[in-house]
């Protein structure tokens, strides 16, 4: 196959994939008898047309950065962690326990404590599939899927039978105490100049950006990161270089699960302020699309997370203002994963053809 330039591989392949996904989505909208341009208009106005819209978009973005980073770090170790959803739910359990049962004097301390709890619970949920993969060769994709379902059942059990306050009907914990409420962007000096209305995006957004930097630093600036990336490459080179596969699998999955779990400080602690059923609401799965779209690089993950934040908030607006069901965003999500993840070879081949077209006349001239 012809090679394509590096810049095209990094930027053009995801953009073309996104374009194809958008094109097919537009056809789907046409097919159900609606107007794609109107849909785009509603999405743009609702999600990025005002500071208020951005407040929602960035709230979703925050969750997706965490889950996208979680998938990314596992991908670099050659592991496909589909368990982000379950790990994020367990992270929520960690947050709820920390917020409900420890007396916090101030939100900043509560944030640190809840972050640790979220990461530990998320990592613990990833630890068993990781161990089974590393020691017993159980396929991590299947075990993490199973753990998503086990997590869902566990959460039902915890919320219905254990944590639900007496006399409450809906399966949820009590509201978290006042001292654990995180400041939203409209309450933070500086940000409050832009965000004047109450928005769900909160201080966790800054933590997500910091997490992206930390993941970049770990992967490309430490010995551990080098080992993770070497282990993720096909072939036995990492093994002969003395890299301990068990150790790397465990560490990569613990980091991955921890990141997915930390998503809970955004949605559970920052927004709902109590633990509800199905708290992760699909963000764990969106992490897969975000990581693929972001080419498994933290910068790409942040950009892709903004894109999916836009899609999520815009999709909600579609459900409110048009006849297009909110499920359109699930369709787009599937298409993005399909084109960036499973059909990237096809996209690359298409691009290689196009580049060969431009190159051929130049080479002919050089030969003459």
């Amino acid at each position: 196959m012809d090679r394509i330039p590096r810049w095209a591989d990094l930027a053009l392949v995801p953009l073309v994939s996104l374009g194809l996904a958008a094109l097919i989505s537009a056809l789907v909208i046409l097919a159900i008898g609606q107007d794609p341009m109107e849909a785009l208009n509603v999405m743009v106005t609702g999600a990025v047309g005002s500071a208020y819209g951005w407040g929602y978009t960035l709230y979703y973005t925050t969750s997706f950065i965490f889950t996208g980073l979680a998938v990314t770090i596992a991908f670099h170790a050659g592991l496909f962690n589909i368990g982000g959803e379950g790990q994020a739910q367990l992270g929520g359990l960690g947050v709820a326990l920390a917020c409900l049962f420890l007396p916090w004097p101030h939100w900043s301390l509560a944030l640190i404590g809840a972050s640790v709890a979220a990461a530990v619970f998320g990592a613990a949920w990833a630890a068993i599939p990781a161990y089974l993969q590393a020691k017993r060769g159980s396929h991590i994709v299947i075990t993490t899927i199973m753990f998503n379902y086990i997590a869902a059942s566990l959460m039902v059990f915890m919320l219905v039978d254990v944590l639900r306050p007496e006399g409450q009907m809906d399966p949820a914990t009590a509201n978290f105490p006042e001292a654990t409420h995180l400041p939203t962007l409209n309450q933070i000096p500086g940000f409050n100049l832009i965000f004047t209305k109450d928005v769900p995006a909160n201080v966790t957004f800054l933590i997500a950006l910091a997490a992206a930097w930390v993941v970049w630093a770990i992967l490309w600036r430490t010995r551990l990161g080098y080992q993770i990336r070497a282990f993720g490459k096909p072939g036995a080179a990492a093994h002969y270089a003395g890299i301990n596969g068990f150790r790397i699998t465990m560490i990569a999955m613990l980091l991955s699960g921890g990141l997915a779990g930390m998503m809970a400080i955004n949605n559970v602690m920052g927004e709902a302020e109590r633990l509800l059923q199905n708290s992760a609401s699909g963000a764990g799965f969106i992490g897969i699309a975000v990581a693929l779209m972001g080419r498994n690089h933290p910068v790409g993950v942040v950009l892709a997370a903004v894109l999916f934040g836009f899609l999520f908030q815009g999709g909600a607006e579609l459900g409110l203002w048009t006849k297009i069901p909110i499920e359109l965003r699930t369709v787009v999500q599937g298409l993005v994963i399909l084109f960036t993840g499973a059909l990237d070879y096809m996209v690359r081949m298409m691009l290689a053809r196009v580049f060969a077209l431009f190159r051929a006349p130049a080479e002919a001239k050089g030969a003459a």
């Binding site: 017993r136 899927i145 753990f147 379902y149 799965f285 897969i288 359109l328 599937g334 399909l338």
Partner: protein
């Protein structure tokens, strides 16, 4: 627990185990040919919506079944194109198609019927109705076996019996025909099949198409027999349970029957917490029963209940020449 309750449970087991069995056999073909398919769920969902929609529009359940197979086949072909033709990651393709199905089924159902993503309730010929097997009424009063025959074995829709018949058929096809031998070979060592002059891609596509057909039947059963119409996300993870059963069965047809009926039994139990309470002697949360199939599968995967070894070439795209 008395005999009548046991019979009720077993009846539910067969009813709930059937979609799992169909999806599990579907996955068996694909995975035995070396194509991982975690998109069983999506194909079933697509099939359920197609069956529900067409049966509601035409009033014929058989047209609904055909539509279900067609809907499921579209997704099977997409999976084949992505993972065989373009050598994409089979797992990612499956994940993508599951999301696509989850969204598009609601979009289509909403556009067609405008009932919040459901299809209209089916009645009469729009459904696969229960069939009373011969002599069921007459033998009803025979002690022990009579009620078993009448309550459990008789009185299901034709798709249940078809699913049961697919088990020996699959066994025969896989282990007693040339096609089956090649299909298994292409999942273990595709190069050997290629050397013998048989098309690896062709065989794998054939396997993926069979998967599509069986998932179509499974989805049609969901929408036209188990329930009366399609509802959003109605498969509720059954595709994944079938996948779990496939691993539990170690990719073999008879064991697939056992595994899916076991998991069907768990689902039947989860519907009757009162029975579980009476047997165990204390209250068992339904959520724990829901989690049982998944926990068991993890134990199998971990090698604590026999070792599950997948087809060796599973997940690897085949490249003819390097």
């Amino acid at each position: 627990m008395d005999y009548a309750t046991l019979l009720q449970l077993l009846d539910s087991t067969l009813r709930l185990g059937t979609p799992l069995l169909l999806a599990c056999l579907a996955g068996l073909y694909s995975e035995r040919a070396g194509i991982f398919d975690i998109g069983l769920e999506g194909k079933m969902l697509m099939a359920a919506m197609s069956a529900g929609a067409v049966a509601a529009m035409t009033g014929s359940v058989w047209l609904g079944l055909l539509a279900a197979i067609a809907g499921s086949m579209i997704f099977a072909i997409l999976h084949g194109v992505a993972s065989i033709t373009f050598r994409g990651n089979q797992l990612i393709s499956g994940v993508a198609l599951n999301f696509l199905a989850s969204g598009i089924t609601v979009l289509i159902a909403q556009a067609l019927f405008g009932q919040g993503g459901r299809t209209p309730p089916l009645t009469g010929d729009g459904r696969f109705n229960p069939i009373v097997l011969p002599f069921a009424e007459a033998l009803k009063d025979v002690p022990v076996l009579g009620p078993l025959y009448f309550e459990v074995i008789s009185g299901h829709s034709i798709l249940v019996y078809a699913a049961l018949a697919f088990v020996p058929m699959t066994w025969w096809l896989l282990y007693r025909t040339r096609f089956g031998l090649r299909l298994r070979a292409v999942g273990e060592n595709p190069a050997s099949v290629d050397t013998a002059g048989v098309s690896v891609k062709g065989l794998r596509f054939a396997a993926v198409m069979i998967t599509g057909v069986l998932c179509g039947v499974a989805g049609a059963y969901m929408a036209t027999a188990l329930q009366a119409g399609f509802g959003r996300e109605m498969t509720a993870g059954r595709g994944y349970i079938a996948l779990a059963a496939l691993i539990f069965a170690k990719w073999r047809p008879w064991q697939a029957l056992g595994a899916t009926m076991l998991f069907g039994f768990f689902q039947a139990l989860a519907l009757r917490p009162d029975v579980v309470e009476a047997v165990v002697g204390r209250k068992v949360p339904v959520s724990m029963l829901d989690a049982l199939p998944y926990v068991l599968t993890v134990l199998v995967l971990a090698g604590f209940v026999g070792k599950a070894i997948p087809p060796r070439a599973g997940g690897d795209p085949y490249v003819k020449e390097r």
